[in-house]
Assembly symmetry: C3
């Protein structure tokens, strides 16, 4: 029960950061108020909802905790009013830190729930990655873009993957759950921020090469 409570708090923290990133992309596409709310909502809850559909878990997080849904509605409307008023607070850079934190938190919560559902280890790590990145994937699909996470060559899903395996390794070694969750989330978030700071990139296709077209 205590572990479950911890996971709940973890998910809550990540939700705000992800909603904001959805809000920003919707605003960049000049969507209307319905669009920004829905995209914020889907970015925040999409990954966890997909995980729950795949695991057949119910009730969904946002069905059980409608206070978060209301919160996202309120935050989106407020942020839209603020931005229309001419203030520039929400740059992509400003949300990098909460977004990295969200990445880490969603990764370990997804992996942990998959483990509870008796999934094999590798699949459990994928469920962590799905939880962490598919909200963003849905956001980009709705905004009619190729998902950033698949094409920008900056490590994002890989950081999540590393965090999931840190958590799994500590779990297999019999470490306390809270330690595993903290270490896994910290690994994913830390690697992500480090990758951004150092400008690490994934191997690219050669220019004009066979991958081209």
């Amino acid at each position: 029960v205590k572990l479950d409570l911890t996971l709940r708090i973890i998910e809550a923290g990540a939700i705000i950061a992800f909603a904001l990133s959805g809000f920003l992309e919707a605003a960049r596409k000049r969507m209307d108020v319905v669009g920004v709310i829905v995209v914020a909502f889907i970015t925040a809850f999409g990954g966890g909802t997909l995980r729950d559909l795949l695991l057949d878990r119910r009730p969904l997080f946002w069905v059980e905790h409608q206070e978060y849904v209301v919160l996202i509605f309120a935050v989106s409307v407020a942020a839209m009013a603020l931005m229309r008023g001419g203030r520039h607070q929400f740059t992509e850079r400003a949300i990098q830190i909460p977004d990295a934190l969200g990445l880490g938190l969603f990764s370990v919560s997804g992996t942990s729930l998959a483990l509870e559902a008796q999934l094999p280890l590798f699949v459990a790590s994928l469920m962590g990655v799905i939880t962490a990145v598919f909200g963003g994937v849905m956001r980009d699909i709705i905004c009619n873009e190729i998902p950033t996470v698949f094409r920008d060559h900056r490590p994002y899903a890989l950081c999540s993957f590393a965090g999931c395996w840190t958590f799994l390794a500590l779990h297999l070694l019999g470490a306390p759950s809270l330690l595993g969750l903290a270490a896994g989330a910290g690994t994913a978030a830390g690697l992500r921020l480090l990758a951004l700071a150092r400008g690490w990139t994934l191997p690219a296709w050669p220019p004009g090469g066979e991958g081209g077209g």
Copy 2:
């Protein structure tokens, strides 16, 4: 049982209008016969299917009622033959009235089913909106467009939302179910048609402003 039957009839009415709107967008994209059938099908059943996946309801409406599936196949093929023959019957304007009716009917049926599944009120209203608008969202995603409902600044999801709350308010006041369903569907459909007639729009981002890019 009687209420359930009413809900079934309500969904059936909405399905035809939505299928037609899917057919039209697929035709505009010059899809082949497979494309127009599938897009008509997904526009009609996508919202309800997503709702049922989220609520874990089975069997799905179209699985239980394959007669509607066959009907959509037949209508799509007939409409395609008709349009290829050079007749212009199905303008966007012509389907505004059945589409508004579909919006109202799907809104209250989705909310009502969510209520039966013991969902909290706000989430139940969202399930109504999801039922009503996500068929169209899927249609636009498949047609490689940003979903109209998120960007055209004409009230659509908001009309659905108002209809859902009209139904919920009457439900909380203890009104008979049929009255609530009729009032809710009427509110959503009426507001939608009024919004179109009067040219109501949602607040937009300022031109060239922060939302731009």
Copy 3:
């Protein structure tokens, strides 16, 4: 049990061909290594996963058989290394035969599982088509294209549909399951290859006609 085993083997064969087609489209879009793996994965497992969500079957194929997931990871990374090295092995033409085979195998496995789940016949045939084509639909949506299967006017979903009904007809006639599966898969795959070889096309909208815009 023996039938179930056969179905499992059938799905395995199709998965490799579909993963390769996903890999190729992701490479054409110059996605990074995460993108090519995920798109390969979704192309291979997307149709079957959607079918299982619609039928409420668990565990999902790839959750139960994580060896395939690992295989797709390994194959994608190896293929990416190979292509970056400048070799052109994987042309669209080269995967037409395994892709046609995959189409046939997924069609009958999907229909057969739907029949086991007591679905009505027409819906069961649709489940076969969904299993066979929706991996490719998801691939194209993620790659920000209108799904090929809906617009290229070359029979693909229709071949799948014909294969599903061949299987269903033999099932209704009381033929042995293996015969039905083989005949259905063969019909779909054969029709697809024949359609490609002969250049068969579906009826198109007239140029500049009503479907245009």
